[in-house]
């Protein structure tokens, strides 16, 4: 996995190098623009923003926006800010991510390395799940949840995201495990290792790159999901995406609180941003190791 070119390719000449950095910087500005705007706005008051535009330097540091967004803002008649909703999101995302990743790893392992009857068809169906639009599944899930007696709970969302998440995680893991050299497996079989031992001794230690990709992907996807979150939970159990929507739908009779909205958006996006900030390099490494074929 050496850097391509390494010491072999001729480096670009001087002016080319400046151009390179200029282009990279221009792209960086494009990508950073919304983030910077939202950060700046989170320090401005709503009146400032309404008077000028969303692009502007704060007149002072309106820290109260953050305090309000976190703990005091009235969302749907509860005046506790987004903090309880953040807790709900964590309670939802962590089990769902762990479960869907674990199940995906096992499924991917089975499909790629243990041939069994019907495996191609099942895999094809599982992968189809990745492409089904959310809206279509809303009512069927409502009916299923009714039968299971799980309406209006976080558990309902965990179930939904685990079952659906398996499609992605199985796809990723299977593509990765297919690349494991056959010799390793043959050696294990010769040693008498069965299904579980092979997984534990050989596959699992090789898995971190793909598991990181899967965990990052699932964490982000489930944290940011809102349709099911809003429909299948109520009031105090809703995830933070529902709270953001509630803050954003200011009725026409009120001044739009852009400052507090910006602070809330940043706070809510912080977990996933941190995940990409610290895990970005591992994400890339996992992809390089063959997650996507």
């Amino acid at each position: 996995m050496n850097r391509l070119g390494g010491d072999t390719l001729r480096p670009l000449p001087r002016p080319g190098r400046w151009l390179l950095y200029a282009v990279l910087a221009a792209f960086a500005v494009f990508f950073l623009l919304p983030l910077v705007v939202v950060i700046l706005n989170s320090f401005r008051t709503a009146q400032e923003i309404a008077r000028t535009s969303v692009i502007g330097w704060p007149l002072g540091l309106a820290w109260q926006n953050y305090a309000e967004a976190w703990g005091g803002y009235c969302i749907a008649q509860r005046c506790e800010g987004i903090q309880p909703y953040m807790v709900n999101s964590f309670l939802l995302v962590i089990p769902a991510t762990i479960l869907s990743t674990a199940l995906g790893a096992i499924a991917g392992y089975s499909i790629s390395l243990w041939r069994f009857r019907g495996d191609t068809i099942v895999f094809a169906i599982v992968v189809m799940g990745v492409f089904l639009p959310e809206q279509m599944k809303l009512i069927p899930w409502a009916l299923v949840l009714r039968e299971l007696g799980l309406t209006n709970t976080i558990g309902a969302l965990v179930l939904i995201h685990t079952v659906q998440g398996m499609s992605f995680t199985t796809l990723f893991c299977r593509n990765y495990y297919i690349g494991i050299p056959q010799d390793l497996l043959k050696a294990a079989k010769v040693d008498g290792a069965g299904y579980f031992r092979t997984f534990w001794r050989i596959i699992l230690p090789l898995s971190p790159p793909i598991l990181i990709v899967t965990v990052i992907w699932q964490f982000t996807g489930i944290w940011n999901e809102f349709l099911y979150g809003v429909t299948f939970t109520t009031g105090g159990q809703q995830p933070v995406t529902a709270a953001l929507i509630a803050i954003a739908t200011t009725p026409a009779t009120d001044l739009v609180e852009y400052g507090i909205q910006s602070a809330a958006v940043l706070l809510a996006a912080l977990p996933t941003l941190l995940v990409y900030f610290f895990g970005g390099r591992y994400f890339l490494r996992g992809l390089t190791a063959g997650a996507v074929k």
Binding site: A76, L145, R146, V230, A246, A252, D254
Partner: protein
Amino acid sequence: MLVRRRDLLAGAAAAAALPQSLSAQTKPRVTFISQWSSGSDGAAISGLGKRLEEEGGIWQHSPVPGFTTEMMNKLRADIIAGNPPAASQLKGPEIAVWSKIAPTVNLDPLVSAAGYEKLIPTELIGLHKPQGHWIALPMQVYRTTTLFMSRPAMKKVGADKAPKTWAEFNALATEMKKAGITPVANGGIRWDDGMKLEIALSGINCEAYRGALMKLDPKALKSAEMLQAFAQLRKFADWMDPAIAAQHYSVNLPKFLKGEMGMLMMGGWAQGVIKNLGGNLDDVLITSVPQDEGKPVFVLNADSMIFWARKEPDLAAGQQLLAKLMMQKDVQEKYSQTTGSIPVRTDVDLSGPAWTDGQREASAVLNDSFKSKRVLLSLAHNMAQTNPITAAMIDVLTEYVHNDKVTPEQGVARLAAAVDNARG
């Protein structure tokens, strides 16, 4: 696992009547779903909840974040789960549609005890009694055919009174345009576009409106009045700010109050918006939109609550308490004062200081139109038709407003076709 409509309806046939007597300990309780989580609507519904608690009840309101669709999704999910709230927001013909999928409460005894039917506009009554008995109650009434005029703008063109016919309106708008004022300050959202047609048509001919938009009579939909309304709508579109598409009308209010924009055709609720923006209502002249034939028409928009049958005695008692409160004069007064609407009851005295001139004027027109049978139901606010038909019609209207290549003749044809398609 399959939910059969028959099973759900089995309970509906026996719509719950009076509750069993409540034990001394159980307090009446209400679970309520709506989209009203903030603003004046939120304040009003919370006020209602507080009143319920003062009367000894327990109030459990779960507002759904988002707009009406999200609220209805939640309601439907709860109904499918067999756990509907004791009461929920629902309005217009949707009350009839939803009452078929889950059992509701028969409020007839309470309504006749309060002598309520004689006090409210007839058009509203039918909407709340789809199967012949009361299952829902209206909460507040708005007029959608209100004309707001910017006094500074009027001064600039030397106008001293509001236009009384569309011809006068068009002349005034042309004057304003020449003076550099944007004549129409409406926004570009779907329902705003739909409202502009209903305002035009109701102002042109009351019965044409009733036939076309309320009864969906094919002849009325293709009538000369309809063509005229579309032509007027095209004029509105040309007089609006071209950059306003997809935006809420409130972004125009600062310019409107300064006199850079002239006229706003909106529902009575715009008063509250102007006030909240810090605007001075003295700068605004509030009256009815122009009327080409006869006395002013009142196009009505009302919010309502529907009561879902529950077996629990505390919920049933809560429903009775809530229904009684909702029909009371003082509760309606407080509700309408908070939101800027008009009370549902026609016997409320609006002369006190807590009411604005705009509310008084609207209420007078309502009483008048009630007597002369010129009350109509709003199309754009889901009062005249069910959601699918309304949505299909507004698709055509909003496209018409924002696409000036569509001629009035094409607009009329498309509207009629959309109605057919949505009904078929």
